[in-house]
């Protein structure tokens, strides 16, 4: 580039750097690119040059013009940020002041989400049967989420899981967003000795999104390990829970043989309802509600428990699903939208915690 252009650019850049506020910067802009600005004058002067010189010179001046425009824009953004920061610094509030003695509104305005409500009910009901709550992380390793649960890499069941993966880490391991709460079975068996009675309410994730599936949802897992826990206990526990949760003493419950890699024998559980009216307990139709089974010997052994000494059952169900059924909520998606109108309609008062002493 010609020396005169280099000099001009250096001058303008220096002026820009010296501009301390937006007004000063605008003056720099006008001086360079305004109607009678220096760069504008150069562009106007091109016409006087011979055609072959004009082309090369024109290109150079245009490059310069573009560079200055970009530099001006960068400086402008920076100065605006400075100005905002200066304003915000002046807007100081003494945050050591004590907050007001009462909040803007009270319990009448606040509410508990239906999912939390159901979790509280689950904890109270299973708690009465001697279950404790166990927890685990949302982001899991492949081993906890799959391999330890007897779902090797090549297993056809993996296809059904629609797994979300996070970016691979060093060594190629890809963490997953847990596809079920079952990895907490493994964490529990590794961290405590049997006998075990836990439930695991928590967030779960699957890459599936439609009217009846959300990419994030909630499950509750149950795990019972003892010396002589058998399938009759599994059935009894689930029947007791389902009838108490739905408040229907004679709720029909049906058990069907099924398959899960981490239980054997496995079974799916249906409850009686009317497909037509959605009413539970009558109508002659069946609705699948949960999966369960006796913990697979390999799952016990993967966590270091000898399946000849200990046995037990596990189950898992969708918290949204049982919540929708219990309260007649027709659509899944609003659970996650925090639409205050929906929350006001379905949420519960913070002053009505679930206890076994009150009618639910």
């Amino acid at each position: 580039m010609a020396d005169d252009l280099d000099m001009l650019r250096a001058d303008i850049e220096a002026a820009m750097a010296g501009a301390e506020d937006l007004r000063a910067l605008d003056a720099v802009r006008v001086a360079a690119l305004g109607k009678s600005g220096q760069v504008t004058a150069l562009l106007k002067g091109l016409g006087a040059l011979p055609p072959d010189e004009r082309r090369a010179r024109g290109a150079e001046v245009n490059v310069l013009k573009g560079e200055i425009e970009r530099a001006l824009e960068n400086r402008r953004v920076m100065l605006e940020a400075f100005a905002l920061d200066a304003r915000l610094a002046a807007e100081r509030l003494d945050v050591s002041l004590p907050p007001r003695p009462t909040p803007p509104a009270g319990p009448e305005a606040g509410s508990i989400h239906p999912i939390s409500r159901t979790m509280e009910e689950l904890i109270a009901l299973f708690g009465a049967m001697g279950f404790a709550v166990a927890e685990g992380p949302d982001i899991e390793g492949d081993w906890h989420n799959f391999s330890a649960l007897n779902i090797p890499d090549h297993h056809p069941a993996r296809q059904d899981h629609d797994t979300f993966y996070l970016t691979a880490q060093e060594g190629g391991r890809r963490p997953v967003l847990r596809t079920h709460t079952s990895p907490v079975q493994i964490r529990t068996m590794l961290s405590q000795e049997p006998p075990i009675r836990v439930i695991v309410p928590g967030r779960t994730w699957r890459a599936d999104h439609d009217a009846t599936h959300s990419p994030m949802f909630h499950q509750v897992e149950g795990l019972v390990i003892g010396r002589d826990i058998h399938m009759g206990h599994l059935k009894g526990t689930l029947v007791d829970f389902l009838r108490a949760f739905f408040g229907i003493a004679d709720l029909p419950v049906r058990f069907r043989a099924s398959y899960f890699p981490f239980t054997e024998p496995s079974m799916e559980v249906d409850i009686g309802w009317s497909r037509k009216t959605g009413e539970l307990g009558q109508g002659g139709d069946w609705l699948e509600i949960l999966g369960s089974g006796m913990v697979h010997p390999k799952v016990l052994a993967n966590a270091g428990i000898d399946p000849r000494m200990w046995q037990g059952f596990a189950f898992g169900m969708g918290i949204e699903r049982i919540t929708m059924l219990k309260h007649g909520i027709p659509d899944l998606r609003p659970f996650y939208e925090a639409d205050l109108r929906w929350l006001r309609h379905y949420a519960t008062s913070p002053l009505s915690p679930f206890t076994l002493h009150d009618a639910a």
Binding site: A89, S96, A105, T167, M231, N302, A338, L351
Partner: protein, 831 residues
């Protein structure tokens, strides 16, 4: 897996009604997904004869018909179909009939002066396909007045079952029939295909290039075939389960896939280059065009079948276009092979092919039925296409699948909770094809049938259905070894137990309530776990609505709220705006609040108890009670509405901390909240000087403008995991002095930049023995004060313990307070 009732009856001799068959399928673990009875919807439709078809007198595009439906009445029908003509046979619906394709119940009417007392139907109107080019044109011999559904053999219900991943054998109509027979629904019909004598030497040889590529393969040619459409019965069956009939040879392979669970492949011998077909692993540069129209590039982990010209197919997954059979095929070569199921599963996933062949191969085929399947296929091809069979060429060998398993009868009750007796258990196993090897009072040992790859899988050389132990590497070696030995001992027994229980039905097991573990249940929540519940109740009681929002959001949104490490990026997001784990629930709560504003709700207060994600490690998922408040406080005649501010957020955060057992004196406030808060109007609540427990403040205007939110907005986050667990110790007895406390109000003039908290601390520390409490009750920064100064008024409570204080003692204490405050903050007492 779909099949029709009549197809099932090919294998199952039964007169059980459909309802009982369906109920039994559900009971034994072959869950019924649906039953489609096409005849029911078509019941009102009759075959009709068009006595006369003439131009409609008043409409160019319509015809006036006289139609006979065999009931002695000739009806007038107006019809717009171009193919309506005198003498044709068609399908008619009478008024009152529901027409599935249009969703309309037919009514008699009059169209432009001509009565229409029936309707002639197209295929689409009957819900039988897309053909709407004209009304159905039946052959001349169709019986007038007969039910169309019966005539078209649509009276065969289509049953769809969901087959679990362990039951490869039930991906066959015969497998389903076998299970039903074992459960007492009829008798399984025999199946003993008679060998076809070879008429000439096989034109192609098999070579297994790598033992990993193929266990065993048989092949056989049939020459002199005529490959046209397959017979109507086969086309009907395939169409009923949703498969498109192609030509007889291809249809036979599809039929075998569903009828016997045996995927086959057919090559057109004329199109195969060279005299050998090689089973090998993929190589660099391999590529072929598959029958599904896609091009695949096999990797060195995939099994391919190649001729001299190169790869012809991804074995057991999808065949190749170049050697496929079509109408010109005169000599066909049938492939019947057995592959490593694990390798097939991984190949299928790698190339994302979901084919019926893959589904069966990865679950496992019947490894003992290779030869019988090939003979049956040869016979069927000769039956349908003519020709004569070659000898069989083969390579590899049947894997050693033979194995035994033992069931101790005690386990039926001990693990199964069932009262099924030994005799019943043994007969169930025998009905399923298990062979009795030994039996005593305590147990039975059986041989496992070749088709049940899911039972005692570990002992079979054919790896279908097997899984390996995956023990936690940190286990104590002795403990791990004992557990592994336990699996070896009882895994196969669990498989047998499952069969015994399944056939009887799990409903037969008596339900038993869980025995109590202790007379009264122990607490179900640890003190740590209870904190989320306390925070939830408290925040809701402070007027915030609990929300549940997604843990991931758009990366650009997440970046407004903190670090967005690559390690927390979702590799396969379901939507572009859900690709980064949120650094704080404030991010997704603000999005939710913005949506509420957009719905015309001006004031929003939301909270969530959920994770902030700072790393993928378990300790990088921080349990957080977070909330946002937007807009104003409620409008009320007695209390003016005002915009929410940072102290509202502080109030929420502080209330949670106090409810979780922290004492106000132990908390300090610093002004270094994260960058998404307003730098001058935010703070961090810390335990002592260091440990951050909560953050609060106005949100940064830049964040709000990026999210399109106008107006006041504040947020808070309580880091539940950082709160120390309350110590379980008995409290000291309370101090309850007998003397009244003395209160004194003191106003100070101080630099506006001095935090009020500094004055309070100084005052509290001035005379610890006497000062019970110091609080701020007024702050004034009006224009009557010098520039840059503010007036802060403190109430000091003095608590005498021994005796009533004298005025002099009170004054002395107050003087100490003033001196301490002045020393610490430069404040002066206002007169």
């Amino acid at each position: 897996m779909k099949f029709t009732l009549s197809w099932l009856r090919d294998h199952l001799d039964t007169d059980a009604p459909l309802e009982r068959i369906l109920a039994t399928l559900n009971t034994i673990g072959l869950e019924v997904e649906g039953v489609e009875d096409r005849a029911a919807a078509l019941a009102p439709f009759r075959i009709a004869y068009v006595v006369e078809a003439v131009q409609h007198p008043n409409a160019d595009r319509l015809r006036a018909l006289k139609v006979d439906i065999g009931d002695g009445t000739i009806r007038s029908v107006v019809c717009g179909a171009p193919n309506a003509r005198t003498g044709m046979k068609a399908v008619a619906a009478l008024p009152g009939a529901f027409v599935p394709g249009t969703g309309i119940t037919l009514k008699a009417g009059e169209i432009r002066g001509v009565k229409s007392e029936a309707m002639l139907l197209s295929s689409r109107e009957m819900g039988l396909g897309d053909d709407h080019s004209g009304i159905v044109d039946l052959p001349e011999d169709a019986p007038v007045g007969a039910s169309y559904a019966e005539y078209a053999k649509l009276g065969d219900p289509v049953i769809e079952i969901s087959v679990t991943p362990n039951r490869g054998d039930a991906l066959a109509v015969r497998g389903v029939a076998r299970d039903l027979a074992a459960a007492g629904i009829g008798t399984l019909k025999p199946w003993n295909p008679e060998p076809v004598a070879p008429a000439y030497p096989a034109p192609l040889e098999w070579v297994i290039d790598d033992p990993r590529a193929c266990l065993q393969v048989l092949g056989r040619a049939v020459r002199g075939v005529t490959n046209g459409p397959s017979p109507q019965w086969m086309q009907d069956r395939l169409a009923a389960i949703g498969l498109r009939p192609i030509n007889a040879l291809v249809d036979v392979t599809n039929f075998f896939t569903f009828d016997l669970g045996r995927p086959l492949h057919v090559f057109d011998v004329a199109k195969v280059r060279g005299k050998t077909l090689t089973m090998r692993l993929g190589r660099e540069g391999d590529e072929y065009l598959a029958l599904n129209g896609k091009t695949y590039r096999p990797t060195p982990e995939d099994i391919v079948i190649a001729d001299e010209a190169g790869v012809e197919s991804l074995a057991a997954i999808v065949g190749g276009e170049t050697t496929g059979c079509d109408e010109s095929t005169r000599e066909v070569f049938i492939e019947c092979a057995l592959f490593d199921p694990v390798r097939i599963a991984l190949t299928g996933r790698r190339h994302q092919v979901h084919s019926d062949a893959r589904a069966r191969n990865e679950r496992g085929l019947d490894p003992a039925a290779q030869r019988a399947m090939l003979e049956a296929a040869t016979r069927m091809i000769i039956d349908l296409c003519g020709g004569e069979a070659s000898s069989i060429s083969e390579a590899g060998a049947e894997p050693a699948w033979q194995r035994e398993a033992t069931l101790r009868f005690e386990r039926i009750a001990g693990l199964g909770g069932s009262s099924i007796g030994p005799d019943k258990a043994v007969s169930s196993l025998e009905a399923l094809g298990f062979g009795l090897t030994a039996r005593d009072d305590a147990s039975v040992t059986v041989s496992v049938p070749s088709w049940r790859n899911d039972v005692a899988s570990s002992a079979s050389a054919y790896r279908a259905g097997g899984t390996e132990l995956a023990q936690e590497p940190g286990l104590d070696p002795a403990r791990a070894a004992a557990a592994a030995e336990g699996v070896e001992t009882i895994e196969a027994e669990c498989d047998l137990l499952e069969e015994v229980l399944r056939l009887e039905g799990l409903d037969a097991i008596p339900s038993v309530s869980l025995p109590v573990a202790s007379p009264l249940p122990l607490p179900s929540l640890t003190p740590r776990q209870s904190r989320a519940g306390v925070a939830r109740r408290l925040l809701a009681a402070r007027g915030l609505a609990e929300s549940v929002t997604y843990g991931f959001t758009a990366r650009a949104t997440a970046a407004l709220f903190g670090e967005v490490p690559e390690a927390l990026r979702v590799e396969n997001p379901i939507a572009a705006d859900l690709d980064q784990m949120r650094p704080t629930p404030v991010a997704t709560l603000l999005l939710a609040a913005g949506r509420n504003l957009a719905r015309g709700i001006p004031d929003v207060a939301l909270f969530e108890i959920g994770a902030s994600y700072v790393s993928p490690a378990p300790e990088g998922q921080l349990a957080t009670a977070a909330g946002v408040r937007l807009g104003h406080t409620p409008r009320h005649p007695l209390e003016p509405s005002r915009a929410v501010d940072a102290l509202d957020a502080k109030g929420d955060a502080l209330a949670v901390l106090l409810a979780l057992g922290l004492s106000p004196a132990a908390l300090t406030v610093t002004t270094d909240a994260p960058g998404f808060y307003h730098p001058g109007r935010s703070g961090v609540l810390r335990s002592g000087p260091k440990l951050p427990l909560a953050r609060f403040g106005e949100l940064h205007p830049r964040v709000l403008s990026a999210l399109g939110i106008d107006g006041a907005a504040v947020a808070f986050e309580v880091l539940l995991d950082s709160i120390p667990e309350p110590k379980r110790r008995k409290k000291a007895a309370p101090e309850l002095p007998a003397f009244q406390p003395v209160r004194r109000d003191l106003a100070f003039l101080v630099d506006a930049t001095t935090p009020a908290d500094n004055l309070l601390r100084a005052a509290r520390g001035a005379e610890r023995a006497l000062i019970a409490e110091v609080s701020l009750f007024d702050r004034y920064d009006g224009d009557r004060l010098p520039e840059g100064k503010v007036s802060l008024a403190l109430e000091v409570v003095l608590q005498p313990r021994e005796r009533t204080l004298t005025d002099a003692e009170i004054e002395a204490a107050v003087a100490k307070v003033v001196a301490a405050v002045t020393k610490a903050t430069g404040a002066t007492l206002r007169g």
